[in-house]
């Protein structure tokens, strides 16, 4: 609310001259128009138990990744930016002997240490069974966001939420999550009674609720659907195109190293940004989203004040 405070201070300072000066509102509204707020979204996907960097063995990923370096990077960015969200798009588990031995405990613990704000579930997070995932979440201080898996009558039943709203300054950010169809991808016995629901429908419903009812300024969807497929299988690109209230899709599953995000125009003609950063924590993704306050423009318009030159800021 810094901006409003500044606004009021400016009105107070101007009070002395304002009684006679009808020019005052111009100064006020001019100052108002410059209100900006920035959100920094940091994201990973498909880290696959890569706690240490790849070993220095001459292979193509040698030395890359690792939580100690990622944590340092995140710490540095948090020191520079006021409003940061740290998100993961699933497949936290499976891929190094750490998982075979410890079943995901150190993975979840370091994510908590790094201050992850939220994650969604990938198909490999079922690998040691749903009960194991649910059990390891006792070490998590961040929510698992999932919209299109119905976990009723499974060990995950009370361990997830469909969305979470984050307040950063006066910004409201709604974050939700969707997962890929398990049948054919995850052995039946591992996903048990979990029901798969239409990710586009569920994500759209939740995103609409977040925008309309909760008045979120931004809706982010964490997705483990995969970036794109050659057939018509549902993917992040399909989700972007067919959804209505999602602004940003943080993707995973296909291990796609995107050089830059892709922008897709949705049904309402609005831009949806898709990003994915490969796998194994080799890359940390960052999206900076800037907002300006349009309310004050309306204020200027709705009053009969003649707009003057912007005088400050």
């Amino acid at each position: 609310m810094l901006n409003r405070r500044k606004f009021l201070q400016q009105s107070a300072l101007s009070t002395g001259s304002m009684l006679a000066a009808t020019m005052l509102p111009q100064t006020l509204f001019a100052a108002e128009e410059t209100n900006k707020i920035k959100l920094t979204i940091l994201h990973t996907n498909d880290v696959h138990s890569r706690l240490d960097p790849f070993p220095m063995d001459g292979s193509n990923n040698a030395g890359l990744g690792g939580v100690a370096a990622r944590a340092e990077l995140i710490k540095k960015i948090r020191a520079e930016e006021e409003h940061v969200l740290l998100l993961d798009a699933g497949d936290i588990f499976q891929g190094t002997p750490y998982f075979n031995l410890y079943k995901g405990e150190p993975e979840i613990k370091v994510m908590t240490m790094m201050g992850y704000d939220a994650a969604t579930m990938g198909n490999h997070d079922f690998d040691a069974g749903l009960e194991n995932f649910a059990n390891q979440l006792q070490h998590a201080r961040f929510p698992i966001l999932m919209n299109n898996y119905d976990f009723t009558h499974t060990p995950m039943e009370s361990k997830y939420v469909p969305y979470k709203i984050f307040k950063k300054g006066s910004l409201k950010i709604g974050v939700t999550g969707v997962g890929i169809e398990m049948k054919g991808l995850v052995p039946d016995n591992l996903f048990g009674e979990t029901k798969y629901l239409d990710p586009i429908q569920k994500a759209s419903e939740t995103a609409e609720y977040l925008k309309r009812n909760e008045k979120c300024d931004l809706v982010i969807c964490l997705s483990h659907l995969g970036y794109k497929y050659s057939d018509n299988k549902v993917s992040d690109r399909v989700l972007a195109k067919e959804s209505e209230f999602v602004d940003i899709i943080i993707g995973g599953h296909t291990h796609t190293f995107m050089d830059k995000p892709e922008t897709i125009v949705n049904k309402k003609g609005q831009d949806v940004l898709i990003n994915q950063v490969g796998w194994a924590g080799i890359v940390l993704g960052r999206i900076d989203v800037e907002f300006s306050n349009t309310k004050k423009k309306k204020l200027t318009e709705s009053n009969t004040v003649v707009g003057g030159k912007k005088t400050s800021e």
């Binding site: 690792g66 100690a68 998982f99 240490m113 800037e290 204020l299």
Partner: protein, 250 residues
């Protein structure tokens, strides 16, 4: 004066009213960057310290060298030396453990979880990374028709590791299929070694779902480890198998 004061009061009310509303933010720009986490990136030692006990316990077994490779094994579609080497192990293991001839061994490309395995010493942990899943090697008796469907799926998916057979991908189908050097026969029954994940219909192999599996609970990773131990005991190394078992039609 009163009029002026009233005007000021009304104005102030207006200011109060408008600023009391929740501000509505309009998205103005989205900018993306990314950071590659490099070997020389500064590290937060709190994490290395936290991981040390987990690492030490793991390293005591996982850092044990079990084989030496003369070549970098690379995972690549439609065909690669990594897929050739490991599908050969699956075929050899299946023949030995199930005590029957195996016509082909085939499993999903995604079942190999390393994009490359460097030349030189191969430790146990590396094999866990390559094959982390507890998948069993199973045998399916497939007629030529179902086998063709199965191979078509693997062709549609860009080519899978295969031992004992070759094919050419044309229009996303497996063509010019040779099993043991002989053209596939619709009416023949083939012994096909794969992993239970695929046999259960994984990776869209729905044509296999109803086929009975011969399964002695041999984990693929254990089979690879046993094979590498044997190789090393015989003084042999992992070698390059560059043959293109799956190719795209020109």
């Amino acid at each position: 004066m009163i009029a002026v004061a009233r005007r000021y009061f009304i104005f102030f009310l207006a200011v109060w009213f408008f600023t009391s509303c929740e501000p509505s933010w309009q998205l103005t720009s989205k900018n993306a960057t990314q950071y590659r986490v490099n070997p020389d990136s500064p590290k937060d030692t709190a994490y290395t310290n936290f991981l040390r006990p987990y690492y030490n316990k793991m390293a005591s077994t996982m850092n044990q060298v079990i084989a030496v490779s003369d070549v970098e094994l690379i995972k690549k579609q439609p065909s690669c030396n990594m897929g050739n080497f490991f599908s050969d192990i699956v075929k050899i293991t299946a023949e030995k453990e199930y005590n029957m001839p195996v016509d082909i061994a085939i499993f999903n490309h995604g079942g190999m979880r390393l994009t490359s395995m460097a030349a030189g010493n191969v430790n146990l942990g590396k094999i866990y990374e390559l094959s982390p899943f507890d998948n069993y090697i199973v045998i399916l008796k497939l007629n030529g028709k179902v086998l063709q469907d199965f191979l078509d799926l693997s062709a549609n998916k860009g080519g899978w590791p295969i031992s004992g057979g070759t094919y050419v991908i044309k229009d996303k189908k497996a063509t010019a299929v040779l099993i043991g050097g002989v053209a596939i026969d619709e009416n023949k029954i083939y012994n096909v070694a794969t992993i239970d994940y695929i046999a259960n219909g994984g990776d869209d192999a729905s044509m296999l779902r109803t086929i009975p599996q011969i399964n002695k609970n041999i984990i693929m990773r254990d089979a690879i480890i046993a094979y590498l131990h044997k190789l090393t005991a015989e003084g042999k190394h992992i070698v390059d198998i560059p043959e293109k078992r799956v190719q795209y039609a020109e």
